[in-house]
C-alpha cells in the first residue's frame, strides 16, 4: 500500500483574506488509479486542485497543508523553482475550457514543443517529432497538418485532445483533470473519457478527476470524494459510496440526478442551494438543507467518521449509532 501511494494530501486549506475557500481537505491517490472529486458549483474542487499545483498567488491566497506528499517527496518543502520543475512534467493539469487554456497565437505544435523544451533536453527537430507523436497518441486525425494549425480552427473535442497531448507530453505520474469534458457534447465526452482511460492504462498515471457529473465518476473513478461548501463530506470506494452513501448530501446528490436507464416518479430534491463561502452556516455546513438536521449539528463541523472498507462520512448521525448502520438496500 505504502509503495503504491502517489499523492497524499492532509489538512489542506485555502484562505482568501478572512474567507476559507476550502478547509481540512484530505486526499489519497494510488499510482495508476483514479480518484474522483465531485461536488456542485463552488464546492471547492478547482481551488483544491490549484492549491495542490501551487497555482495561487501567495500574496493573495494563504495555502496551508500539513502534508502534500507526492511520489515520495513533500511538496510543501519545495521552493517555487523546484515546484515549477514538477509542474507540467510530473504533475500536469487539464482544464474545463480548453480555449482559454490554450494560447491563441501559438500553433498547436508550438505549444506542445514549448512544454517539451521546458522539461526535457531535446533539440527542436526532435521536439517536433515528439509533438507529432503526441497528437497521434491522442488520436487526432491528420495530425501532421494539425501541428501547424491555430487552436481556434479546432472543434471543442479536438482542443481538449490537444490539451491532453500537452498534459501528457512529459509522461506525468499524476494528471489533474478539472472538468475535462463538461464543455463537450455527450458523444465527444465518451470519446475523451475513453481516451484518458486508455492513456492511463498505457502510462500508469494516477488521475484526480474533478467533475460535477456523478455518472462520469461512477464509470471512471476507483475512489471518490464528495465536496460540499469547501469540505470533503464523504470519501471511499466508488462502488461502496454509490451503494450505501452515508452522508445525507451524497445520498441527496445521487437521488436528485434522474437516471437515463430507468423511470422514476418524482426526483428527490435537496431544499435550498449551496451557500457562498461567506454565508456558510456554523457547525455542519449541510445542516440547513438536511432532512436529519438536529440541534447538535450546529455545534461543530463533524469530522469524517469511518464506516469500514475505507468509507468515511462527516455526519454525526452515525456517531451515536455506535457501529456503522447496517447497509440499506440501494435507493429505488
Amino acid at each position: 500500500m505504502q509503495q503504491t501511494q502517489l499523492l497524499t494530501v492532509r489538512d489542506l486549506g485555502v484562505r482568501l483574506g478572512g474567507l476559507h475557500l476550502v478547509e481540512g481537505v484530505d486526499l489519497d491517490l494510488a499510482r495508476g488509479r483514479t480518484h474522483g472529486l465531485v461536488g456542485e458549483s463552488g464546492s471547492g474542487k478547482s481551488v483544491t486542485a490549484m492549491a495542490i499545483m501551487r497555482l495561487f498567488d501567495p500574496r493573495l491566497f494563504q495555502v496551508r497543508a500539513r502534508r502534500i506528499a507526492f511520489d515520495g517527496r513533500e511538496l510543501t518543502d519545495l521552493d517555487n523553482r523546484q515546484m515549477r520543475r514538477i509542474r507540467g512534467a510530473e504533475i500536469s493539469m487539464i482544464f474545463q475550457e480548453p480555449m482559454t487554456a490554450l494560447n491563441p497565437v501559438l500553433t498547436v505544435g508550438e505549444q506542445i514543443i514549448e512544454t517539451l523544451l521546458v522539461h526535457q533536453r531535446l533539440g527542436r527537430a526532435a521536439a517536433r517529432r515528439k509533438a507529432l507523436e503526441m497528437l497521434e497518441w491522442v488520436r487526432i486525425p491528420a495530425a501532421a497538418r494539425r501541428l501547424d494549425e491555430y487552436p481556434h480552427l479546432l472543434s471543442g473535442g479536438m482542443r481538449q485532445r490537444v490539451m491532453i497531448a500537452i498534459a501528457i507530453a512529459c509522461r506525468p505520474k499524476l494528471l489533474i483533470a478539472d472538468e475535462p469534458t463538461t464543455a463537450l457534447d455527450v458523444t465527444i465526452q465518451a470519446q475523451i473519457l475513453d481516451l484518458l482511460h486508455e492513456l492511463q492504462t498505457e502510462m500508469g498515471m494516477g488521475i484526480l478527476l474533478i467533475t460535477h457529473d456523478l455518472g462520469v465518476v461512477a464509470g471512471y473513478a476507483d475512489e471518490v470524494s464528495v465536496m460540499y461548501a469547501g469540505r470533503i463530506v464523504e470519501t471511499g470506494g466508488t462502488a461502496q459510496i454509490y451503494r450505501t452513501p452515508r452522508h445525507p448530501y451524497t445520498e441527496g446528490l445521487i437521488r436528485s440526478h434522474p437516471p437515463v436507464d430507468r423511470d422514476v416518479d418524482e426526483l428527490a430534491t435537496i431544499p435550498g442551494g449551496v451557500p457562498q463561502p461567506h454565508l456558510r452556516p456554523p457547525g455542519c455546513r449541510f445542516g440547513p438543507r438536511c432532512a436529519h438536521h438536529r440541534a447538535a449539528c450546529d455545534l461543530a463541523d463533524p469530522p469524517l467518521i469511518g464506516h469500514g472498507g475505507g468509507q468515511r462520512a462527516a455526519c454525526i448521525r452515525h456517531a451515536d449509532y455506535g457501529a456503522p448502520p447496517a447497509p440499506e438496500a440501494a435507493h429505488g
Binding site: V186, A190, Q191, V216, S256, P258, E266, T269
Partner: protein, 334 residues
Amino acid sequence: MAEDGFVRVDGLTRHFALGAGGLLGGRPQIVRAVDDVSFSIRRGETLAVVGESGCGKTTVGRLVLRLIEADAGRIEIGGTDIRALDDAALRRFRRRIQIVIQDPFGSLNPRMTIGAIILEPLEVHREGNAASRRARLAALLEMVGLPAEFAARFPHELSGGQRQRVGIARALALETDLLVCDEAVSALDVSVQAQIVNLLQRIKREQGLTYLFISHDMAIVRHMADRIAVMYLGQIVETGPKRAIFDAPAHPYTRALLASVPRSEPGTRPAPAVLGDIPSPIDPPPGCRFHTRCPHAGDICRTVRPAPVALAAAHTASCHLLDPATAAQLRSPS
C-alpha cells in the same frame, strides 16, 4: 402526421447566411440551422427536442415563438397559422406562448425588482389594475415556491435556482398555453435542477400546459417528456413516444447518443459509440447527414437523404437501414 396536434409544425426551415462574401469575394456560407423539420404536440403533452449543441434546437424554439422568421414551413398553434399573423395579431397571440431560457440572469434587468420583472408581461399587455396585479404576483411567487418578500429583491441577490423560478413565474404571468423551455435547467447544480424539474412537472399538471422542452440532456428528457424528437444537424432523425425512444431506439444516432450517456452504475463506462466530430452545419454532409459518423453507412447514405420510416405507432426514424427498400444493400459484414 400532425393530425390532432395543438402545435403543428410542418417543413420548418431556417438558414443563416454568414458574412456576405464582402471584399474577399467567395460565396456566402449558409448555416442550415433548421432544415425541413416537422412535428406536432398534443394539448397537455410534453414534446422534448433533444440533440447535441448546434443541431438547431434553440432555433426551432425561437421559430415556433416567431422570435425569428422562418424561411419556409408552416407553424400552427391552436389552429392559428402563426406565420400569417400581422404585428398586432402576433402581439395578442404572444400572450399565450412563453419561453423559459437557460440563463435567466442574463435576461433579467438588474435594476428591476423581482416583482416588477414577473409582472412585466402584464404591463406590456396592459392587463389588470394595481390590485389584481398584486394578487397575481403573490399567487405566482407561491406557485414557483418563492417567499413573498422576494418581490422587493433584485436579481443579483438570488441564487441560480431562484432566478430560474423567477423566469418561470414571469412566463406564467399571463394565461399561458404553451411553454417553450430552452435548456431551462441545464445550467443548474443537480440538487437545484431536481427542484426546478419537479416544479415544471407540477405546474404543467396543475395548469394543463403544453411543453416544448428543449434539452441536450437525455436523462432530463427521459424524466420530462411524453414524446421525443431527436435532432441532428438541423433535421429530426427520429421521433416517437418516450418509451419507444428509450426502449427501442432505431436510428444509429439515437442509439449512439443513448450509449454515450454515463450511467450512475459504478464500473459501467459508456463505450464511445460514434467516431469523429459533429460536422459543421455549414455545408452539412449530403445524403444522410449522420453518415460521416455512422458505423453502418453505405453508398446510398452518402448520396440520398433517407425518408422517415414508420416503425410503430407514432414512432418514425429516417435511416436507410430501417427502410426495407434500401436496407438489403447496407447489410454487408462490417
